[in-house]
C-alpha cells in the first residue's frame, strides 16, 4: 500500500509485487534466458539439466507468480486494469510478444534449420538440441523441431493453466474444464503419442493424438498418412477407424448433447492454448457486426476448401493419380492448403497475433472443425446460453470478454438465449456477468431459440 502522495501521471499507487511474484518472475526469466540463449548457441549433445532447469523454472515461476497475484485477493472476477496494462491493451509489450511469437512460428514452419534442426549427417544444434535429451528419453530418437514445439506448447498450457485455475478458483466450471484441458494436452497430445512413436520406431509416422482429427488434422486423408496407418498394424487401423468415427459419429452426437464446447473448451489443443496462455488477451477479439460477417465467410470458406482439397486428395489416392483434370494435386491442392491454412493461418496468425487480435482468431475465423461443429450447434443441439429474464443491465462485460467476439449483450439485453455457431462455451461471459444473467446449459431443443423475445418485468405487454 502506497502511503505517500505520488504526482506521477501513471498509476500512482502501484501494487507491491510481493515476494512470491518477484521470485516467480526471476524464475521465469531464468527459463526464458536459457531458451533465448539456445537459439544463438552452437549447443550439440547438451545435458538434460539445461532443459530440466528451463522447463522447471518456467513452470514453478509462473505458478508462483500467479499464486502471489491471485491468492492475496478474494475469489472472484480479476479484470482490474485489463485495459490499462500495456501487455493486455495492445501496447509495447503486446507488440514485442506478437513479433517474437510470429518470428518463432515463421522459423519453425519454414526455416527449421535456422533454429537448429539437424540433418542425417549433422545432429541437432542450439534450440532443437536443447530438447534432445527429453526426446531420447521418451522415444529413443533425437528431437525434431515439432518435438521441441510440442514441449513448449504443453508447458504453456500447463503453467498458464495453473494461473487460470487460481484466477477462476471460485468457479467449478472453469476448474473442471481447465483441468481436463491440461490433462488432454499433457497426455493425449504430447506424452502418449511420443511414447507410442518410440515404441513403434520402424513404422512410418502417423498422428497418434486421440483427439486430433479431420478436418482440423488436414493431412489425415493424404496418401502418405493413409498408407502409414494402413501399414501401422492394429494400432494404425485403430487410429484410421477412430479418426473417421470421431468425425462422423462422435462429434455430431456430443455436439448435439453438449454443444461444441465439449471439444473447443474442454479437449482441443488450440483451444487449450487459447484458454490458458491466451486468457490475458481474450478481450481483444473484434465485436463489430462487420467482424461477424467476415467470420462467417472465412470459416465456412475454409470448411469448403478442406472438403474440396480432401475430395481431390482421395480421388488421387483411390485412382492412383497425381493429377486431376491435368492439374497437379500436390502443387495446387495439398501444398497451398498446408501453407495457407495449416501453417500461416492456424500458427502464425492464430497464435502469433494473440496479443493483438485476441486468443481465438484461428478458432473463430479459420478452424474447419469448429465450423463443422458450429453448424450442429446452431441448428441441432441442446446447448444454449440462457438469458435470465429481464436482469441484464447492458454493462457489456459479457461481450467484452467473449474471446469469440460474440456480442453477447445484444441477446442478453433483449431477453434472448444465445445460440451461435461460433460459441465455444468457455463460460467466461457467464462468469463476468455482475447480475447473474447468463447460464451455459444443455436442455430441451424446444424453445431453445426464442426469435421474438420479450423482456420479463411488465404485466401490460402480452402480445404475439
Amino acid at each position: 500500500m502506497a502511503t505517500e502522495i505520488n504526482y506521477s501521471i501513471s498509476q500512482p499507487h502501484p501494487d507491491n509485487l510481493g515476494v512470491w511474484r518477484k521470485i516467480g518472475l526471476a524464475l521465469v526469466a531464468v527459463g526464458l534466458a536459457i531458451l533465448a540463449f539456445s537459439f544463438g548457441s552452437g549447443w550439440t549433445d547438451i545435458s538434460g539439466w539445461y532443459l530440466g532447469i528451463c522447463l522447471g523454472s518456467i513452470l514453478t515461476g509462473t505458478t508462483m507468480y500467479a499464486y502471489g497475484l491471485y491468492m492475496w485477493q478474494t475469489p472472484g472476477i480479476k479484470n482490474d486494469s485489463v485495459w490499462m496494462n500495456d501487455i493486455s491493451n495492445r501496447s509495447t509489450w503486446a507488440w514485442m510478444i506478437g513479433i517474437i511469437l510470429t518470428t518463432f512460428y515463421i522459423l519453425l514452419y519454414w526455416f527449421p534449420s535456422s533454429i537448429g534442426l539437424g540433418t542425417e549427417e549433422a545432429g541437432n544444434r542450439g534450440f532443437v538440441a536443447l530438447f534432445d535429451p527429453l526426446s531420447l528419453f521418451l522415444k529413443g530418437k533425437v528431437a525434431s523441431q515439432w518435438f521441441a514445439y510440442g514441449v513448449l506448447y504443453s508447458l504453456a498450457i500447463i503453467s498458464l493453466g495453473f494461473k487460470f485455475l487460481l484466477k477462476y478458483r471460485h468457479s467449478r466450471y472453469h476448474i473442471w474444464r481447465t483441468t481436463v484441458l491440461m490433462i488432454c494436452q499433457l497426455f493425449l497430445a504430447f506424452l502418449i503419442p511420443e511414447i507410442l512413436e518410440g515404441m513403434n520406431q520402424e513404422q512410418a509416422y502417423f498422428a497418434k493424438d486421440l483427439k486430433f482429427f479431420w478436418p482440423l488434422n488436414y493431412y489425415f486423408f493424404e496418401d502418405w498418412h493413409l498408407n502409414a496407418m494402413a501399414e501401422g498394424g492394429s494400432m494404425g487401423m485403430f487410429f484410421l477407424v477412430w479418426g473417421i468415427a470421431l468425425f462422423l459419429i462422435v462429434t455430431p452426437i456430443l455436439t448435439y448433447f453438449l454443444g461444441k464446447r465439449w471439444y473447443c473448451s474442454w479437449v482441443c489443443g488450440c483451444g487449450g492454448l487459447a484458454e490458458t496462455a491466451g486468457d490475458p488477451f481474450r478481450h481483444l477479439s473484434d465485436k463489430r457486426l462487420s467482424a461477424w460477417k467476415l467470420e462467417r465467410w472465412l470459416i465456412h470458406g475454409v470448411l469448403v476448401y478442406i472438403f474440396v482439397v480432401t475430395a481431390v486428395v482421395l480421388y488421387g489416392y483411390f485412382t492412383n493419380q497425381s493429377q486431376i483434370f491435368g492439374i497437379d494435386i500436390y502443387t495446387w491442392f495439398r501444398k497451398p492448403y498446408g501453407f495457407l491454412i495449416g501453417a500461416a493461418f492456424s500458427g502464425v496468425i492464430g497464435v502469433g497475433f494473440y496479443p493483438l487480435l485476441g486468443s481465438r482468431v484461428w478458432c473463430r475465423f479459420g478452424c474447419p472443425l469448429a465450423a463443422y461443429m458450429g453448424i450442429f450447434q446452431r441448428f441441432k443441439s441442446r446447448f444454449r446460453i440462457t438469458t435470465n429474464g429481464g436482469q441484464c443491465i447492458s454493462c457489456g462485460n459479457c461481450s467484452t470478454y467473449c474471446e469469440q467476439g460474440i456480442d453477447v449483450r445484444w441477446y442478453a439485453q433483449r431477453g434472448q438465449n444465445i445460440v451461435r455457431s461460433s460459441c465455444v462455451g468457455c463460460g467466461v461471459c457467464s462468469s463476468v456477468c455482475p447480475r447473474g444473467v447468463l447460464k451455459l446449459e444443455n436442455g430441451p431443443e424446444q424453445d431453445r431459440i426464442n426469435e421474438k423475445p420479450i423482456l420479463i418485468g411488465r404485466d401490460d405487454v402480452r402480445l404475439l
Binding site: 445484444w410 455482475p434 401490460d460
Partner: protein, 451 residues
C-alpha cells in the same frame, strides 16, 4: 410526426428504439449533453477499474442510430417553451416537436454539508463524474465515502482497485439498511471490512468537509466529532429526479415530473419516463418514484408503444432488482422488506463459510411466498416471477427450488442443506423434487407471454 426525446439513458433510448420498431415513418431525435451515444451507466465503475473502456459500454455500434433513423443531438436543453412546442438548446438552436419525451434521469443528492463545494468532493452518476474521479484519484491516498447504498459500495470497490484507502460512513447500523434485512446487511458488512479492508464506520454521519488553502479537500468531520484526513470525498446519498430546469414552467412537478399511468404529463403531447418521473397513482405495491435501470427500461418500452399509436399503461410486474457488492452477487424478487410485518414470516439460510444466503418472506397464515433475496446464488427470474405471481407457498417453492437454481454448471447446489434447515426450524418434512425442464419452460412461457 417528430418525436423529440430529452435524455439518452436507458429510458429515453428504449423509448426511441421501441417507437422505431413499431412505427417506421416518424422522425426521432434524441438530445443529450452527457454523451454522443447511448452508454450503459451501470458500467461506469468498470471503466474506472479498467475492465472495459468507454466504447465497450455502448450497447449499440455507432452506425446503429443512423441505420435506425434515430437522430442524435449532442446538446443541452436550456428551456422548453411548451406553448410553441419547441426546445431551446445551449448552442442557440431551437428544435420543434410534435411529441416530447422527457427522460432526463436523475442527479445525485447533496444535503448542504458545509464544505461540499470543495475540490475533491464528487458524486458518481455520469461520465463527467468519472472524469473528475480520475483526476482526483492520482493524488488521493485516503477517500471518505458517505452513504450506505449501491453507489457508495461501488465507489468503494472502484477506489480499492487503485489502492486508495477508503473510509466508508454508513448512517445505519448495517449496510443498505432501508432495503436489506439485518442478516444480509451484516454479511455485507463483514465482506466490506474483512475481505476488502475498508474502514467501514456504522452509525456514522458526515458533519462537514474541510479544505486546504487551494480549496482541495483535506479532511472531514463526522457527527461524533472524529476528524478524518482525506483527499477525496464521495457523496453517495441517493439521487433525485433531474427536473430543476423545468421547475418554473407549467409542467407539473413534485419530486419528479407528475405522470399518469400512460406516462403522460399535464401538458398535451408531453410525456416523461425513467428516473425523472413521479407516478400520480403508483402501481399497486410500488413507490411513486422508482429509480432503477429496470424501471427506466420498462417505462421507456411502454411509452414507445404508446407513441407508436397503441396507448399502453405502465404496469410493472413482480418487483425485481440486482446488484453486486464486491464479490457477492445479489438478486431480489418480489417483496422482501428490511423488517417483516406482523403478517409475514421469514426463513433465512446462510452458508456456514461461503458468502451465500437466501431469505424467503411469506405470509404468516397462508404460507404464500412474497419475496426472495438471494446472495451469491443466481436464480431464474422467470421461475421466481411465476411463483410469486401464482401465490405459491414457501413449501412449494422450497421443494421445487432446483427449478430456480441458475448457478453455473458443476457449481454445488445447497438445496438439501436449505430444506433440512427449514425442516429443522419449522418441524416440516419437506423433500426436494428433481429439476423439471417441463416446469421451467412452462414458467418461462407464462412469464414472457402470459400463457
Amino acid at each position: 410526426m417528430h418525436v423529440v426525446i430529452i435524455g439518452n439513458g436507458i429510458a429515453g433510448i428504449t423509448c426511441a428504439r421501441t417507437l422505431r420498431k413499431h412505427h417506421s415513418d416518424c422522425s426521432i431525435t434524441v438530445i443529450s449533453s452527457e454523451s454522443q451515444h447511448f452508454y450503459s451507466r451501470t458500467a461506469l465503475m468498470y471503466i474506472y477499474m479498467g475492465h472495459m473502456k468507454y466504447e465497450h459500454t455502448k450497447p449499440y455500434e455507432d452506425w446503429f442510430w443512423e441505420k435506425n433513423r434515430i437522430d442524435l443531438c449532442f446538446d443541452h436543453v436550456v428551456s422548453i417553451p411548451f406553448e410553441n412546442k419547441s426546445l431551446q438548446l445551449r448552442s442557440g438552436l431551437e428544435i420543434s416537436y410534435d411529441k416530447l419525451v422527457i427522460a432526463t434521469g436523475s442527479v445525485p443528492n447533496r444535503f448542504d454539508w458545509p464544505g461540499q463545494e470543495a475540490e475533491g468532493v464528487i458524486s458518481l452518476y455520469g461520465l463527467q463524474d468519472l472524469e473528475l474521479l480520475e483526476k482526483y484519484s492520482t493524488d488521493t491516498k485516503r477517500a471518505v465515502i458517505a452513504g450506505g447504498g449501491l453507489i457508495g459500495i461501488e465507489l468503494a470497490e472502484m477506489l480499492r482497485t487503485r489502492n486508495i484507502e477508503v473510509t466508508y460512513l454508513v448512517r445505519e447500523p448495517h449496510f443498505w439498511a432501508n432495503i436489506l434485512p439485518q442478516e444480509e446487511g451484516q454479511m455485507i458488512n463483514k465482506h466490506i471490512r474483512l475481505d476488502h479492508h475498508i474502514d467501514l464506520q456504522l452509525n456514522a454521519e458526515l458533519k462537514q468537509i474541510f479544505s486546504d488553502s487551494k480549496g482541495r479537500v483535506e479532511a472531514i468531520e463526522t457527527l461524533s466529532g472524529e476528524k478524518i484526513p482525506c483527499q477525496l470525498v464521495g457523496l453517495t446519498v441517493g439521487v433525485r429526479p433531474n427536473v430543476d430546469f423545468l421547475r418554473n414552467s407549467e409542467i407539473e412537478i413534485d419530486k419528479g415530473i407528475m405522470v399518469n399511468e400512460f406516462l403522460e404529463t399535464n401538458i398535451p403531447d408531453v410525456y416523461a419516463c425513467g428516473d425523472c418521473v413521479q407516478h400520480i397513482k403508483p402501481p399497486v405495491g410500488r413507490k411513486a418514484v422508482e429509480q432503477v435501470w429496470y424501471t427506466g427500461r420498462m417505462m421507456g418500452e411502454c411509452l414507445g408503444e404508446t407513441l407508436s399509436g397503441k396507448r399502453t399503461a405502465y404496469v410493472p410486474g413482480v418487483w425485481f432488482n440486482s446488484a453486486k457488492f464486491f464479490d457477492i452477487e445479489y438478486q431480489t424478487y418480489g417483496d422482501v422488506p428490511a423488517q417483516c410485518t406482523s403478517e409475514q414470516s421469514d426463513f433465512y439460510w446462510q452458508h456456514p463459510s461461503k458468502n451465500a444466503a437466501l431469505h424467503f418472506v411469506y405470509g404468516k397464515e397462508s404460507g404464500v411466498i412474497k419475496g426472495i433475496n438471494s446472495f451469491g446464488i443466481r436464480l431464474r427470474h422467470a421461475v421466481l416471477e411465476q411463483w410469486i405471481k401464482e401465490h405459491k407457498t414457501v413449501e412449494y417453492v422450497l421443494i421445487h427450488f432446483e427449478d430456480a437454481w441458475f448457478e453455473p454448471e458443476f457449481h454445488k447446489n445447497y438445496i438439501h442443506e436449505i430444506i433440512s434447515e427449514f425442516n429443522h426450524k419449522t418441524g416440516s418434512g419437506l423433500k426436494a423434487n428433481k429439476k423439471s425442464w417441463h416446469r421451467i419452460l412452462s414458467n418461462i412461457k407464462k412469464a414472457t407471454y402470459g400463457h
